[in-house]
């Protein structure tokens, strides 16, 4: 592009002035030459006519046509002569030779002149007067009138005329040849100019082209590209400038590349390592596990995979805060790293779970290593705020062989083995065995997850209601608990204790809670629409610990209740002691925010967990629901009865209404009446019914 641009300009520069000047010169010279040729023809014709005229004088004077013809034939031999003719003084044709077509000569027009011509594009005709030649014959001028007249004989009319027709053909040919030669010279000159211009243009463009090629290459990223520095003056400076610029660019680019490499390495490390402990993360661990699986398949190697889950970590995390949990994990990671062999991989898989990949390790060695880890954790004491905690670890071990399946399968198997170890009393190692009964249950739990999700999609969750009946007289209105049911694929109702543990373990509770709250609010709206007063009914619904901590869920709930202000007074949220103390501050904030909208709260299943009475002071609840395990055998078991009496008394002391669950016999009801419990709930009092019947009842 550049090349063509500059070269074309150089060509124009060389050609245009040369073309203009030479064109003008050629036109001028050619025109001159053409005029010369024409003039020369005229002169020749005139001269010939003037020569021929006196020669014809005698022939005309004597009327001798023979003489004339001879003269005319000799004139015809001259080049370009087309025809010759002689006319008498009165214009009559006397003799003619040649092909010319003679008409009467224009005597009137040429009278008085000795020569005249007419001109046209094809021919040139000259007429010359034939004058008498005067020769003095007397030695003396004889005087007298007659002689005086004779003296002026020049005035005598001509005796005749000679006509000469000249063909212009050869003149025109000559003129054409002149034009052709001129054009040839012009074109040759222009071609030479163009050649010189082109060569000069190339001399200029060559360094420019090499520069532009280098710049183009640099632009494409070939920073090692350099221009050959052979130019002088401006081009030399330019080439040097481009080269030093390229060198600067290259060095800057290399520095930048180094930094990028470092950052990439850091990112790669961060992508494959856990930030807290510095151990390999789950993703990297899975990659290494896949490699190990492949090596065992291809090379028949045997590796071992351990799944480690800390015992009591949740307690430390909940009671001392996340900072304590994090510090514990950091310290433990340091200790465990010391136990590692060179080719072993220890990874933090999430929370308090660790993975350990022992490559080229037999089952016996793997068990020894796993035991070393277990003992190391067991010996470890964690100190936080003057308190000392002991932790344990449950280890699931699975061997990687040619038949052991994919990495995902292996992780799942190790997780299951770890679950078994936990179930068997924690702080122990369980080696994964096919057809393990504990594993079967675990597998069942996994299956529940899919079933719950499917039920949510197919809208197969249902709510039933069960009355919470006041034992004391004078209570009016209706107080019910809304309970969750799942309808399976065959239409059978499934109780929540079958699928809630799985839902809790696999983080499905928030979804379920939203579904329940949504349905309950619709129900309340319908209930109010049926003309019931809001203080005549109270709907209890269960909230999971996960939802309690979910700010988004809280805002959604507050938003819904804000839209319908009356609904808040109809709701009572049942929360478990475990869920509440998981994050006491968040739980209390949730309770306070919703109480402002008229909602009430009940502490559910009290007595089954840690049952720390101190929490009763810290949690702002209205009802205390005594765990059904104490109520079920209250009629026959004195301990249970004493427990219920104690809980009831303390509840009343902190100003709470007490509710006894699982009341399924008259004897139990009687005992509870005697104790003075405020409300009872159970299949004996009221068996749960589909929600539709609640509206029908009123």
């Amino acid at each position: 592009m550049i090349r063509h641009g500059i070269q074309a300009k150089a060509l124009w520069l060389a050609l245009v002035p040369a073309a203009v000047i030479s064109l003008i010169l050629v036109v001028w010279l050619t025109a001159g030459k053409i005029a010369d040729l024409d003039r020369s023809l005229h002169e020749r014709a005139k001269a010939m006519a003037q020569t021929l005229a006196p020669a014809c004088e005698y022939g005309v004077a004597t009327g001798n046509r023979e003489i004339l013809n001879r003269l005319l034939i000799s004139a015809m031999n001259e080049p370009d002569v087309d025809g010759v003719a002689v006319f008498s003084a009165d214009g009559q044709l006397v003799a003619r030779v040649g092909k010319a077509n003679w008409s009467q000569p224009p005597l009137a027009a040429i009278a008085g002149s000795e020569i005249d011509h007419s001109d046209n594009s094809a021919s040139l005709v000259y007429f010359s007067a034939i004058q008498r030649t005067e020769i003095p014959v007397d030695d003396y001028v004889l005087t007298g009138d007659k002689e005086m007249e004779r003296r002026d004989v020049r005035r005598t009319p001509p005796v005749g005329w000679v006509g000469l027709e000249f063909s212009r053909t050869s003149t025109l040919l000559g003129q054409r040849r002149v034009i052709e030669q001129s054009l040839l010279i012009l074109l040759t000159g222009l071609a030479i100019s163009a050649l010189i211009g082109w060569r000069m243009g190339r001399q200029i463009t060559r360094p420019i082209v090499s520069l532009s090629r280098a710049v183009h290459r640099l632009g494409e990223g070939h920073l090692e590209e350099r221009v050959e520095s052979d130019g002088a003056a401006e081009f030399g400076i330019l080439q040097h400038g481009v080269n030093s610029m390229a060198a600067r660019l290259q060095s800057m680019h290399e520095q930048l590349q180094e930094r990028i490499d470092q950052a990439t390495a850091r990112l790669a490390y961060q992508a494959s390592h856990d930030a807290l402990t510095g151990l390999v993360n789950r993703r990297e661990f899975e990659l290494r596990l896949e490699r190990a699986v492949n090596s065992s398949i291809q090379h028949d190697r045997i590796h071992a995979l351990c799944y480690l889950d800390l015992d009591q970590f949740k307690v430390i995390n909940d009671s001392c805060g996340h900072a304590a949990g994090d510090e514990l994990l950091r310290q433990l990671a340091l200790i465990l790293k010391c136990e590692l062999r060179d080719r072993d991989t220890l990874a933090r898989l999430g929370g308090d779970e660790f993975g350990l990949l022992l490559e080229n390790c037999s089952r016996e060695d793997a068990l020894v290593v796993a035991e070393q880890f277990r003992v190391a954790v067991h010996r470890f004491r964690f100190k936080w705020d003057e308190r000392i905690f002991a932790v344990g670890v449950s280890v699931g071990l699975v061997m990687i062989t040619q038949e052991s399946g994919t990495g995902a399968n292996l992780l799942s198997a190790a997780d299951a083995a770890c679950y078994v170890a936990k179930n068997r009393g924690r702080n122990q190692i369980h080696l994964y065995q096919q057809r393990d009964s504990d594993l079967a249950r675990h597998r069942g739990e996994i299956q529940w997850v899919g079933r719950i999700q499917q039920a949510l999609e197919d809208d197969r969750l249902r709510l039933v209601w069960q009355e919470i009946r006041p034992l004391q007289a004078g209570k009016t209105g209706l107080h019910v608990e809304l309970l969750l049911r799942m309808v399976d694929e065959e239409g059978q109702e499934i109780l929540p204790m079958a699928f809630i543990p799985a839902a809790e373990r696999y983080q499905l509770m928030p979804v379920i809670d939203r579904w329940v709250v949504d349905r309950t609010l619709n129900q309340c709206a319908e209930y109010l629409a049926n003309g019931q007063r809001e203080d005549h009914c109270l709907f209890d619904i269960n909230l999971s610990g996960a939802s309690l901590k979910d700010e988004e869920f809280k805002h959604l709930l507050i938003g819904r209740l804000g839209e319908a202000p009356g609904l808040g007074r109809l709701l009572c949220f049942e929360i478990t002691e475990t869920a509440a103390i998981g994050n006491l501050d968040l739980a209390n904030k949730f309770i306070l925010d919703l109480r402002r909208l008229g909602c009430r709260f009940a502490l559910d299943d009290f007595g089954s967990g840690l049952s720390s009475f101190s929490y009763l002071k810290n949690l702002s609840v209205d009802y205390l629901k005594i765990d059904g395990a104490f109520v079920r055998d209250i009629a026959h078991n004195g301990v249970d009865r004493a427990m219920v009496e104690a809980i009831h008394r303390i509840g009343h002391e902190v100003g709470l209404k007490t509710v006894a669950e699982f009341v399924d016999s008259e004897q139990a009801l009687e005992v509870l009446k005697r104790i003075g419990v405020d409300y009872v709930q159970g299949n004996y009092v009221h068996a749960p019914q589909p929600l539709a019947t609640l509206c029908d009842r009123h």
Partner: protein, 311 residues
């Protein structure tokens, strides 16, 4: 102009000389030239050289002659050329006149009678050469030629008889043709040219003039016939040989007549006469072209003079 002044001064001098010599033989002679051209001046020069020392010469132009009493009262008037002779005729003086350099035809048929009208004594020196002299030249120059051709206009036929009688004496025959008009000139010439050995040109202006000369010469060449002319100009124009008198020779003859007349005391003029002195000119180119060999001019002239002059 300067020349005129010179002549005027000369005339004054001669006038002065005439006054001084009035008691002796010196006489006043008026000379009238037809014009100032070179031939007339040569004639005048020849007259002056012979008369000027003894006589008074008054030079006058033809136009001024009638008003110049001195000239008219002169002893003798010499006119040179036809125009001057005419002026003398018109002056009506009785002074004797010598009319030099006039065509014989003019003098015989016009001038002579008019000059004599006022009882004025007059004589003439002709321009023409006598036929006998011309025919003798034919004999000397071209001894083989026996048949002469001559072309004349109607006005000149009176000369024919004389010519033929002269020719007969010389054993020559003459073939004449009368040229009616100029247009028929060549045609007329062609009638005689095939049968003649020589064409004799006579001073007939209607036949021989500036215009016809070339045609006549070309025609004669075509017939291989030489022309004998009457002037040096004709020789130059293409005549083989010419016989003529130069201005000097005419002047000499005129001066001799004047001297003779004045010396007699009584004015008695001789008759009109042909030129006494003559010259011959040969065109060598023409001679070569026609394949003729002629004696050189001086030899020819000598033979002519030795042969005797009877005029």
């Amino acid at each position: 102009m300067r020349t005129l002044k010179g002549y005027f001064a000369k005339a004054l001098l001669t006038l002065g000389a005439a006054v001084i010599a009035s008691n002796g033989l010196a006489a006043t002679i008026a000379v009238v030239l037809s014009d100032d051209s070179a031939p007339y001046q040569e004639v005048l020069g020849a007259i002056q050289s012979r008369l000027g020392s003894e006589h008074n010469l008054i030079r006058e132009t033809p136009d001024q002659l009638a008003s110049n009493d001195a000239a008219l009262a002169a002893k003798l008037i010499i006119t040179v050329g036809v125009k001057a002779a005419d002026a003398a005729i018109k002056s009506s003086s009785k002074t004797p006149v010598i009319a030099a350099l006039v065509p014989r035809d003019w003098y015989l048929h016009n001038g002579q009678s008019r000059l004599a009208a006022d009882q004025r004594p007059a004589t003439a020196v002709f321009l023409d050469q006598p036929f006998s002299r011309q025919l003798r030249l034919v004999r000397e120059a071209l001894p083989e030629a026996s048949k002469l051709g001559v072309a004349l206009s109607n006005s000149q036929t009176w000369q024919l008889r004389e010519l033929q009688s002269q020719a007969k004496l010389m054993h020559l025959s003459v073939n004449e043709v009368i040229v009616g008009s100029e247009l028929r000139l060549v045609e007329s010439l062609e009638k005689i040219l095939p049968s003649v050995d020589l064409l004799l040109a006579l001073p007939d202006a209607e036949v021989f003039n500036r215009i016809t000369a070339q045609t006549i010469f070309l025609t004669t060449y075509r017939y291989h016939v030489p022309v004998m002319g009457y002037s040096r100009s004709l020789t130059r124009a293409g005549a083989l040989v010419s016989i003529f008198s130069s201005p000097e020779q005419i002047g000499q003859q005129t001066a001799e007549i004047a001297l003779k007349v004045l010396s007699n005391g009584s004015v008695k003029l001789p008759p009109a006469q042909f030129p006494r002195y003559y010259s011959i000119s040969i065109n060598e180119h023409v001679a070569r072209s026609l394949g003729l060999v002629l004696p050189v001019e001086s030899v020819l002239l000598k033979r002519m003079q030795e042969g005797g002059e009877r005029d």
